[in-house]
Amino acid sequence: MSTNGLIGRAVKRVEDKRFITGHGNYTDDIILPHQTYAVFVRSQYAHAKILSVDTSAAKEMPGVIAIYTGADLANTNGVPCGWQVNFKNGDTMKEPKHPLLVADKARHVGDAIAIVIAETKEQATDAAEAVTVEMEELPCVIDAAKAVQPGAPLVHDDVPNNKSFDWTLGNPIEEVNAAMDQAAHVTTLEFVNQRLVPNAIEPRSYNSSYDPVSEKYTLYTSSQNPHLIRLLMCAFVLGIPEHKVRVISPDVGGGFGSKIFHYTEEALLTWCSKQIGRPVKWTSERTESFLLDAHGRDHVTKAEMGFDAEGKIVALRVKTYANLGAYLSTFSSCVPTYLHGTLLQGLYTTPKINVDVTAVFTNTTPVDAYRGAGRPEATYLLERLLDLAALEMKADPAELRFKNFIPPFDGVQQPGYQTQVALQYDSGNYEGVLKKGLEMLGYADVRRQQQEAANNGKLVGVGFSTYIEACGIAPSAIVGALGCRAGLFESGHVRVQPTGKVSVYTGAHSHGQGHETTFAQVVADKLGINLDDVEIVHGDSDSVAFGMGTYGSRSLAVGGSAIIKSIEKIIEKGKKIAAHKLEASADDIEFASGRFTVKGTDKSVGFGEVALTAYVPHVYPKDLEPGLDFSSFYDPANFTYPFGCHIAVVEVDKETGKVSIKRFVAVDDVGNVINPMIVEGQIHGGVVQGIGQALFEGAEYDENGQLTNASYMDYCMPRADDLPMFETASQVTPCPHNPLGVKGAGEAGTIGSAPAIVNAVIDALWSGGHQVKDIRMPLTSERVWNAMNS
């Protein structure tokens, strides 16, 4: 296939110009003719019966157009969950209704009770204040492990013990227990993988309109997957024909998973727009974002890792309580199961693994996929155990890893690696990334510096994390068998214009990942044309055939592969057109550097001329349709498995417990790289979200179910002055099963970094004689200080 060397180059992003000049177009920037504005009346209680809702005074307020309550939506479905997980005994998971407005009782703080629509935001806000809601507070439950205890308050009256499902994976527990009993050393860790608030800086925003003439709805949404929203909203919630709904995700200001899900507000605004016959807009306030955007993580886990006398891992046993919050969000059920349990092999040859998960409802914000989704939980568990085991066994944490790594395999000459927990890894060279990381770090020097620091009464620590993740989500047949209610293919439509310029329509959605550049590089490279001659179109269900959207580091591996399939079809057809023009056989035509050439001759015709001929087919093969325009769907053969090595060096201030990051080294192998600048940027951002989890972030609920740090004044997000410059490098082990050989880079940083930081802090404390096993994340100064002083 033709190339012009664009693949692999750090091309500057084509989308940047609009963002740096203030011309991005985010949903809240859009004001439609006859726009109206919505404000919600929400529950202040985590669990409370709704006794009455009085909207009479509010309806009389200036500018108010309509107010709806749960009673008005009694006949409307709730938002669905997209993944069915079954109980160990085969029963279907408990899936209570998640209504658009609650009528009976509120199940978490922020549950929507009424929507107020007015001419202006100001009027809607004033009127929402005038709605009087009488509620009777009920006892609530916040903690997942407590929620399954007998007698705990029930979040849903028809879900006994608040249990959505229980689930297990891996080797039979008896085998794992037996192996564990034989172990020479067992490292045990009981810990909390805390709840995180995704906090994309653009708050969620929706603007929905209805045209009574065409009977068509248009929804602008800050979503990572507009087609999926359309499918769920039409088919499951509102029962409106899909072809009568256009969903547009314009520029989206970050998602990190939180904008995958179909939220109640999207469907409700769409419903309201028909009721009032005018467009309705709602943009979340940050305080609402804290209470409503699906949170991430929230696992309570006990994990045990057994080693033989030589330090080889012999068994891993994991019991996790996963907090799902008050309702099942779109992909909530697969996160603690198929995205977590399946990753517990890590990079190691562990022969016996069993994981047991209980997924639980509580009176808290729903929990779902947040950057990494399940895989950070698995990695945190494994990597914390490894470093802690090294401390306990007085072994070197790097050496311990080398001893246990799965040997290198490329997935072509050597087969993929079959894990104990269902997945088959595609290709990997795990010792390679650790070796490179140690080199970059200057490991021996750093250990020496640590010793010197300890001698001077300072606490310096080194922490490791060698991670693997499963992304490029995912083969439809596999996820279907596991309970996913959707396919996970992607579409890629390549339209060659008569002038040889190319428009590409992808079902992936860019909200910072740089698709407009990376995808254009792929297309321009393969067609041998200029980057400027390619336009990437995404985020509009009326122009893109279909799409499953962007999450799970899947866009290039799946969406890019669909585009490649269309390009192959274009080149194949182009060869026929060129052959006709050059009076040769299509089999004799080669395509390279943007030209179709008769093999072994200098007879050739350019791509642009072939394109023009396809649309002005005066001299044209008889049996060939005009036009040069192909659409393809790609369903991957397997997940892709990026991996890497993150190493952190930290210093802990003895007096205050404050942790400062001295160095952060990351070597990531994400397969082939199309644009190294963009990949590096993804890694940086991911690393900082992991650092955020390790040191700064965590949703804090009080015992009454109030989120007590629901603003940036109390929820701590990493800022520029909390961080060092990062030292990054890459290794390339291509993916053997997709045409670009790419694996995915969006989540890698987040998955790798958190355990490296926590391990480094623990290592620092041990260097000062504080043999602490665990400190609960985030490692605030006070928690670290307490760990040193208890």
């Binding site: 202040q44 703080v109 305080t287 009454n704 740090n709 004044m713 109390d714």
Partner: protein
């Protein structure tokens, strides 16, 4: 949120008790009372205007003195609603005589907050409740000063 502490007053428990059980004096003691309307035995409807620096809130709700053990113990229960959030408190109060003519008041209870008060108030809510408790006792002292012992 826990609210606990103690305070010594220069009056015998019986006098302190009498003032706390009297609707008119109670209205002067509870911080921010703009209206207190008796609805039953030691049960009141209230409007409180709480102002602390930039924050001001008008709370409507009820106030109840419960578990009465004259003159040594009772519980203040209150539910207060406002546009910025609701507060629900149950605070056990013990009056212990100290010496001839003093009373040590020990209070211990829990304040439940919702809405903005809960989600945005963390940094200052401890201080707010301490301040209100202090105001309560300083108002109580003023009442004791006003009405000399018979």
């Amino acid at each position: 949120m826990q609210l606990a502490g103690k305070h010594v007053l220069h009056a015998a428990p019986t006098r302190v008790w009498a003032i706390l059980m009297n609707k008119d004096t109670l209205a002067h003691i509870v911080p921010g009372v703009s209206r207190l309307e008796q609805t039953g035995d030691h049960t009141y409807k209230s409007i409180l205007d709480i102002k602390l620096g930039p924050v001001s809130g008008s709370f409507t709700g009820n106030l109840q003195l419960d578990d009465l053990q004259e003159p040594s113990a009772f519980t203040i229960k209150t539910q207060q609603n406002s546009k910025i959030g609701n507060a629900n408190a149950a605070i056990a109060i013990n009056l212990t005589p100290v010496g001839d003519n003093d009373t040590e008041i020990i209070f211990d209870g829990d304040v439940k907050l919702t809405g903005m008060l809960a989600s945005l108030g963390n940094r200052v809510m401890g201080g707010v409740s301490n301040t209100l408790a202090k105001q309560f006792f300083s108002n109580l002292e003023k009442e004791l000063d006003k009405e000399p012992a018979p």
